[in-house]
Symmetry: C2
């Protein structure tokens, strides 16, 4: 259950998201509502905040702000791409705000990126209110499809994709079908033998059972190795988030460090040391996940 | 400015702290107020939360919860102690909840720990509502003083202390004098030549100017090397926090890894990999701090 509260405090209103499952709440001060649309899939709202730029909210859940989305988008893109030997063909499931797409396209080795988000309105809103994230949408290597990502992966040609990035909402609503064995099985079949899947995998502090289920499901369908990375993400529950990488074959034995070191693009969060650091698991996490 | 909001939502009340400087807010659902006391220094309140155990609030600012204080207390203790060759005499300034004290006393090499918190009522409240944090208060190596930490450090014998841990509130109110050159100068003089100071140093995402000022001040008074470590801390602004280590002489060239690996005590967050990972700076932080 997500409750949503707008309360007045002096001249500012607040958008507050209540995380009922953890009895916690996070809010940002807003100056005004910029826009909203009810798409066939969800209710999308845009606010202007006092300190965090623009804020996108979908079905009362905070999706991203101008100021801190770089953490999530960089961590969902660069670790997996630098963990793959030579990622040429990338598929993004979800990702309608196009922030992940922008990061992926920074890699000049990438030849095609196909993004499949079910809701075109997310991208239309992002073009308007996060133009910086959509700056690469017209890159000739990019294809934006607005369709069902589950169906897309089910019908994808076997062994056709190098990297799949699942940049989805939480596992309720439209995102639900992206967190189960059937979907992971489709992804695994569509990956080339050296392919890697990465998916946002919620908070290590408050969603451990979900993270464990995701990892178990990925293992069950045959992925040979997993790597869960940790990073801060202020606007998400607990301010601490993860993504989980899954290799179709082989093990995680480092990444292309020298390529990452010499990358000819800028990042605000990601670098070689940050990439290595993200794989350090706290003791409570090792215990909960049995060091798998 | 800190505003404080209690709002009703169904059966639960909320304690919400508004961080005016960043236009953000964090709240925990509470079932009841357990206690409160107005000491000569501050207003201390204890709440029972729905999901985070007990919650201590001082002057409307969230100090700690039962559930997530381990992150902060472990990171303020173990990295500095394992960075020192042989820490025998430790001084804690602040730290009245005794969580840092408990972590320090886990190190069997430590011979004396003197804790100086200005407000005895913080410790009395902690004994009652965080008994697990006060479990080592009667350790014969521990001395609890309730006095002015600034004065204590000014009068401390030169070169008498191995490790100083500044576990303070924010740099407003009683904590203010713990963030300036005069205090750092006292600390430096009181440290033995191989001594190390560590201080909580706020959020990398929203308090960068403060962190920069702290580091500049530490350098100005003659500390020879600094190391700012990053870690998650859900109940503090942005959910992302830092502590800064300062060496009286020499450089930071690793820590006692094998001792940390073989430590005969349990930690929930800290381990060797986490210690190393904490020193990885994001690009925006390297840029803001000029890689100092």
């Amino acid at each position: 259950m997500v409750l949503r509260v707008l309360l007045m405090s002096g001249d500012n209103k607040w958008f507050t998201e209540i995380f009922a499952a953890s009895g916690s709440a996070f809010g940002l001060a807003i100056t005004k509502k910029l826009d909203e649309v009810k798409s066939p899939f969800q209710h999308i709202e845009m606010f202007e905040t006092t300190h965090f730029g623009n804020l996108m909210v979908i079905d009362d859940v905070i999706m991203l702000s101008s100021r801190d989305n770089f953490l999530y988008h960089e961590m969902l893109s660069h670790p997996v791409l630098f963990s793959h030997d030579k990622p040429k063909n990338v598929v993004i499931i979800g990702g309608g705000d196009c922030g992940t797409l922008r990061e992926v396209l920074k890699h000049t080795d990438v030849e095609t990126v196909t993004q499949i988000d079910i809701d075109e309105q997310v991208t239309r809103m992002s073009e308007k209110y996060f133009p910086e994230l959509c700056a690469s949408n017209n890159d000739p290597r990019a294809t934006l499809k607005f369709d069902d990502g589950i169906k897309y992966m089910r019908e994808a040609a076997a062994e056709s994709i190098d990297v799949i990035i699942v940049d989805s909402t939480d596992p309720i609503g439209p995102g639900e079908g992206l967190f189960n064995r059937a979907f992971y099985d489709s992804c695994r079949k569509a990956l080339k033998p050296n392919g890697i899947l990465v998916q946002q995998s919620e908070s290590p502090l408050i969603h451990m059972p979900l993270l464990k289920d995701m990892r178990d499901a990925m293992t069950d369908v045959g992925f040979s190795a997993l790597q869960t990375l940790l990073f801060p993400q202020m606007v998400y529950p607990s301010g601490w988030w993860t993504c989980t990488l899954a290799r179709k074959e082989g093990q995680f034995t480092g990444f292309r460090e020298s390529d990452a070191e010499q990358a000819n693009f800028n990042t605000e969060y990601y670098n070689v040391e940050v990439h290595k650091a993200a794989s350090a698991w706290p003791n409570f996490m090792k215990k909960a996940l049995n060091s798998k």
